[in-house]
């Protein structure tokens, strides 16, 4: 049953969760990606294995962690280890999905979380940098990207800094640069739409819009030329059960879903 009212963040979380298959593994940070992974575990993917960069493997998360490494990320875990061990597991091929975000994204799914401006020495805004994002985007089989504000300032022709590799400059570019084969971003989930990458050109493609959003709205909010799928679908809104899990089980303190 569809829930009668929901916020955009809830809609994004639910749509991100639905991308995760049961029995696979995912590396996450905090915020929406983690919420998506937790929601997937509580609904269709009980056997989803969660990895945290700081060294937590397969925890039973009691509540949303505030930090990628905090106690909640190792609560009743099966293994606590090191950051390099998580990265090694990923390069060995054990990790199916990684969730990423950023301040800017381009048509090939390259992400910027390092800086705004064109002078590296004197950036207009300095962001945290890669953290584990570049590692995740380089090493996981499939990268899922969450962008919480779909706007021309964030969806840009050229990102100010390629922190994390998408398809770099086009088909074959990842392999050409030495990155692992058969990897790269698969989906982009935004507050307006769901996108993927057209297989031949590796360019971002609109495949679905959220309820009430038109294809034109998405085109206007994108600073580069989008490929539009032959049939653009509509995403399915959250169910009452999903909303209840989000608020009562995952984020009762309202860190992400402000009360």
């Amino acid at each position: 049953m569809e829930h009668k009212s929901y916020t955009l963040r809830e809609l994004m979380a639910v749509n991100a969760a639905r991308q995760l298959e049961d029995g696979k593994s995912v590396a996450v940070g905090t915020g929406l990606p983690l919420i998506a992974a937790m929601l997937a575990q509580q609904t269709h993917a009980p056997n989803l294995v969660i990895f945290f960069e700081a060294g937590g493997i397969a925890p039973q998360l009691p509540i949303l962690p505030i930090s990628v490494g905090d106690s909640r990320t190792i609560h009743r875990a099966l293994c606590t280890t090191t950051l390099i061990d998580i990265m090694d597991n990923m390069r060995r091929g054990f990790i199916d999905y990684a969730f990423l975000g950023g301040a800017q994204i381009d048509k090939f799914g390259n992400l910027n979380s390092t800086m705004i401006g064109n002078d590296y020495e004197r950036p207009k805004v300095r962001f945290p940098g890669s953290g584990g994002a570049n590692d995740f985007g380089s090493l996981a089989w499939e990268t899922l990207i969450i962008m919480d504000r779909h706007s021309p300032r964030r969806f840009v022709e050229k990102v100010d800094f390629v922190t994390t590799p998408g398809y770099l400059y086009g088909p074959g570019a990842r392999e050409e640069e030495g990155l692992s084969e058969n990897t790269g971003p698969s989906k982009v989930i935004t507050d307006l739409s769901l996108l993927d990458f057209e297989p031949k050109s590796k360019r971002m493609r609109l495949i679905a819009t959220h309820p009430g959003i038109s294809v034109d709205d998405v085109i206007k909010a994108t600073g580069f030329e989008l490929i539009i799928a032959d049939e653009v679908g509509t995403t399915t809104p959250p169910t009452a059960e999903e909303i209840q899990i989000l608020h009562e089980v995952i984020d009762p303190q309202g860190f992400v879903f402000k009360k």
Binding site: T82, L83, M87, N110, P128, G129, L179
Partner: protein, 333 residues
């Protein structure tokens, strides 16, 4: 046959130690015998940390961070440190607010994760006052692994094709065995590693509960290691479960028993974040007027004799509430 460099970054290498030099230095400078290494934090910082050193910090940003040592470094006004920003949050922020830092290897800094960006770090990085080289968390750990192993560089499969690589000192080459492209990164042997653990004995046998993050590698790669611990235990306790010793005694130079030593950070299985304290600190750092942060540092660092005074200022009630939070119990005090 010389290896052909296919592409290379422009990032500066801030830590100048090479594994061979560090190996030779170790022969003369690190005692192997069991030796009582207990001392005061004040004395350990004075003895082992100098202006211009390259510092590696244990834990993960605000998890299991050695805050008692961090505050002491600020109190002693140590200058021109280069720091491994291998996810550094509140730890590096306090050091930068205190004017101790001149260069940072950045994997993750500036951000306080869900809590937003740091005003202190934004000002110092955006104005160019603090120098930086970009890496990734994986890259920094790989560099430490090479440092621990005693090899001068390490081939990795991250950063390739990105601006992160172009602003690092990395060099792309073809593997001489398989022909595939790899990125070479310089190893990292910090001058000093500081960390906070759950327990240690007087000789410096260190045990950590839960995730180790990168503390094992940092201790192995660094010349000097200063350890604070929640609890100083007998060596018999260490000998009963030697498989739990993450860092053995001969790597360690100083041991200090310092309960609550990670405040306002989260010490897994001991106490949770002091969220309010961190939020307040962040808001002070975001004020335009630098006097606000100076006043904060006066209150919480300079005008206090040591970390014991800091804990007294916080008060027992506040600390015990953090213990309740850690165990998901409603605070009762």
């Amino acid at each position: 046959m010389e290896m052909k460099i296919l592409k290379e970054g422009t990032g500066e290498i801030f830590c100048k130690n090479t594994p061979s030099e560090v190996r030779n230095w170790t022969r003369e400078s690190k005692p192997r015998a069991l030796k009582d290494k207990r001392m005061r934090i004040k004395d350990a910082v004075k003895k082992y940390i100098s202006d211009g050193d390259y510092l590696a910090i244990g834990g993960f940003g605000h998890i299991r961070i050695p805050m008692a040592i961090i505050y002491e470094i600020v109190r002693q006004r140590i200058k021109n440190l280069s720091v491994a920003g291998h996810t550094a949050v509140q730890d590096i922020d306090v050091l930068m607010a205190g004017g101790c830092v001149s260069a940072v290897d950045i994997a993750y800094v500036v951000g306080f994760e869900l809590r937003g960006l740091s005003g202190v770090q934004r000002r110092l990085f955006e104005s160019g006052q603090v120098k930086k080289t970009d890496y990734t968390n994986g890259a920094m750990s790989y560099r430490l692994r090479a440092g621990a192993q005693g090899i001068p560089f390490i081939p990795v499969k991250v950063m390739l094709g990105t601006d992160t690589m172009m602003h690092s000192p990395g060099k792309v080459v073809k593997c001489p065995f398989t022909g595939e492209k790899v990125l070479l990164l310089p190893s990292l042997n910090p001058d000093v590693c500081i960390l906070h653990a759950h327990r240690a004995d007087m000789y410096g046998n260190v045990q950590i509960d839960g995730h180790i993050v990168k503390d094992d590698l940092q201790a192995r790669a660094s010349k000097r290691v200063i350890v604070t611990c929640e609890e100083l235990v007998s060596t018999d306790k260490i000998r009963a479960e030697p498989g739990r010793t993450v860092i053995p005694f001969f790597m360690v130079d100083a041991v200090i028993e310092q309960p609550w030593g990670s405040h306002p950070g989260n010490m897994p299985y001991k106490y949770y974040f002091d969220h309010e304290f961190t939020e307040n600190y962040l808001s002070v750092g975001r004020e335009e007027n630098p006097k606000a942060m100076e006043a904060w540092l006066d209150d919480w660092v300079y005008n206090l004799e040591d970390y014991d005074d800091y804990l007294t200022k916080l008060g027992a009630k506040r600390l015990y509430n953090l213990r309740d939070l850690e165990f998901l119990r409603p605070p009762v005090r």
